[in-house]
């Protein structure tokens, strides 16, 4: 059986709407024969079948919009035909949620007390049994009824992320119990944003804007962010940059402070693997590749192109890669794979003069380095006042995995390397 997915039609495209199914369930189809039509913005596209066989199931109806890479249909043999909308994964747990007990809106204490008495047939019991001990412990501590929490895990089980999101949302008071919405839907403001007749101009969000909004809400909700800020004397780096600038330009690369910071950050990530990692449920996933994302501001948003295997590049290679990716990001000429698989991100709020930033983590990474403005300041060196270019660097880190001490060691390493940048690294 072959899954047919919503194709990625462009780097900034997150979703597509199915406008027409050219084939019906039961129709046989050849590989590359037109199967369905999708619409994104003002572009319509005809999508060919990825395989030959029989269209066995249509999972997404005409007019529905789904995320890129969602399965929209399956192709198999005639024996596997299934009617749409009855896929097994969406039935049992959802159906049980509308129990009378749930609609009585019990106080959290009542619900927790009652939970032992419910029969094993209810969704609540199913969820309780299937959830991990950690999730059950969190639920108990916060007196949360797991039946009230929408589960996004396997067979609808409640994951740690679901329950933490639920607790953070104020126990989902505003959320109707029967919805199947994911735990990370945008928060709805309490009152109307504007009244009829008010002097406003309403513009729909672009796909990129929506994607950024979703991603940032998800990040704020997923990671408990903690920040450390270090002051770094950029005297040596500025001197080296001035000295080597012409040489690099001759080699076709603009030597920027960002390149120096990237080089040192990469060395620090090698030294402290916990910062180059992700969390997967209860597992810590250490990333062996260092794929460095560099945030680039665009006219109406931002994008984070990624330098793959950044640790394999020297300062010249990094300078070239940064220039190239930033230019192509601004002219919208990045390939989709060039914004994926990042393991750590550097962002530069200092461009606009900010002393330092407090950036949100680019999920599923666990840390982000913010670079503040580089300005001349009076600094004390050997009890004398000197004028030096100074930069503030921030590490925003996910306290689930990276503790303050880790962040401190990481930033101290970065500071030390920048202040004593070895010419041999160039």
């Amino acid at each position: 059986m072959t899954n047919v997915v919503m194709p990625q039609m462009g780097e900034s495209i997150a979703e597509g709407t199915i406008v027409r199914w050219i084939k019906k369930v039961g129709d046989s189809i050849d590989r590359d024969e037109p199967l369905f039509e999708i619409s994104t913005d003002k572009v319509d596209a005809e999508i060919p079948s990825p395989a030959a066989g029989v269209l066995t199931e249509i999972k997404v109806k005409e007019g529905e919009t789904v995320a890129v890479n969602s399965v929209v249909a399956t192709i198999g043999t005639a024996g596997e035909i299934r009617q749409s909308g009855v896929s097994a994964s969406t039935t049992v747990p959802e159906a049980a949620v509308g129990q009378p007990e749930a609609s009585d809106a019990p106080s959290p204490e009542d619900a927790a007390g009652d939970s032992d008495e419910t029969t094993s047939e209810t969704g609540e019991e199913l969820r309780r049994q299937k959830s991990s001990p950690l999730v059950r412990k969190i639920a108990q501590e916060h007196k949360v009824d797991l039946a009230q929490v929408h589960g996004t895990g396997l067979s609808g089980r409640v994951t740690k992320q679901d329950i933490l999101g639920y607790i953070q949302l104020g126990r989902g008071e505003a959320r109707p119990v029967t919805t199947g919405a994911p735990a990370h839907e945008p928060v709805v403001p309490a009152g109307p944003v504007y009244k009829p007749g008010e002097n406003v101009h309403v513009v729909p969000m672009s796909v990129m804007r929506k994607k950024i909004a979703e991603h940032m809400v998800l990040s704020a909700r997923t990671s408990p962010h903690v920040y450390s800020v270090y002051e770094v004397n950029f005297g040596r780096v500025a001197m080296l940059r001035d000295r080597k600038k012409a040489e690099y330009e001759a080699g076709g690369a603009k030597l920027t402070f960002t390149a120096f910071i990237a080089k040192v950050a990469i060395d620090a990530l090698r030294q402290f693997p916990v910062v180059n990692a992700s969390l997967d449920g209860d597992n810590i996933v250490y990333k062996k590749d260092i794929n460095l994302g560099i945030a680039v501001a665009l006219d109406n948003g931002l994008i984070v192109p990624v330098i793959r295997n950044a640790d394999e590049k020297n300062l010249l290679g990094l300078s070239r890669a940064i220039n190239d990716l930033a230019n192509r990001a601004r002219t919208k000429k990045l390939n989709p794979e060039e914004v994926q698989a990042g393991t750590f991100t550097i962002t530069n709020p200092g461009i606009f003069g900010a002393l330092y930033g407090m950036p949100l983590i680019n999920q599923p990474q666990v840390a982000i380095l913010g670079v503040g403005s580089i300005d001349k300041r009076a600094v004390v060196i050997d009890d004398a006042i000197a004028i030096r270019p100074v930069c503030h660097i921030t590490l925003g880190h996910d306290h689930r995995l990276v503790d303050g001490a880790d962040a401190g060691r990481f930033l101290a390493f970065v500071k030390e390397r920048l202040e004593n940048f070895d010419e041999a690294w160039m």
Partner: protein, 229 residues
């Protein structure tokens, strides 16, 4: 090596003939029998509905009687987008182009078309721009050029429609693209000059080739007998 593009100046072509021609050229392009094509033409007055509106004509505000009096056809097309109007004085461009291997991004394709039209306008001294969230090229809040695109296996069809000396009153027959709070404009209105369609088509062909990094090929024999058109 820059790829070749054949520019075909077709004059006035009915919407249905142009659809059929595009369909044939898309197949020929998919199978690699022809190089990339840019069709430049004008349509007789016609209102076209995109796939979003093929079952909903609420954005056509004129009555069938008015449409008949004005000699305006209504047509369902396979392109994206909402309702639009085509008519004499509007330069229509239909690129039949394989976006593979390096341009497989539909947003980028649409933005490139917009940029190309903006550059055409600039060469006539008109500063057009994009409006965030809306497709096309705009001067203030008036639409100068509409864009609606279809892609099949990365071969493009449909394209852009630039108002050169279009009868703008005909746009009152519809709500263009379903957007109610915006107007339409033309190069002629903006420059106060009488612009020849050939002159604008020349500039468009040049800017198109530059934008998409193509060089001109001389069309071989006409691909579809002219009599058919």
């Amino acid at each position: 090596m820059t790829r070749l593009i054949e520019v075909q100046r077709l004059g006035i072509v009915s919407y249905s003939d142009a659809l059929e021609l595009q369909r044939q050229l898309v197949e020929l392009r998919k199978s690699g029998e022809i190089p990339d094509q840019l069709l430049l033409l004008e349509h007789p007055p016609v209102i076209t509905l995109g796939v979003k509106t093929r079952n909903d004509r609420s954005h056509v505000v004129a009555t069938p009687e008015t449409l008949q009096e004005e000699g305006v056809e209504v047509f369902e097309s396979g392109r994206g987008g909402d309702v639009t109007y085509h008519g004499p004085g509007q330069l229509v461009g239909y690129p039949i182009m394989d976006l593979r291997p390096d341009r497989c991004d539909v947003h980028r394709y649409v933005r490139d078309l917009e940029e190309m039209v903006i550059r055409v306008a600039a060469s006539f001294g008109v500063t057009a721009a994009r409006l965030p969230g809306l497709t096309g090229a705009w001067v203030g809040s008036d639409k100068l050029a509409a864009i609606g695109v279809r892609i099949a296996r990365w071969v493009t069809s449909h394209g852009f429609a630039l108002n050169v000396s279009t009868n703008l009153a005909h746009f009152n027959l519809i709500i263009p693209c379903g957007i109610t709070d915006k107007g339409v404009t033309s190069l002629e209105r903006l420059t106060g000059r009488n612009l020849g369609m050939d002159e604008v088509a020349d500039v468009t062909a040049r800017e198109f080739a530059a934008m998409f990094d193509r060089s001109f090929a001389t069309p071989s024999a006409p691909l579809v007998p002219q009599a058919h058109l």
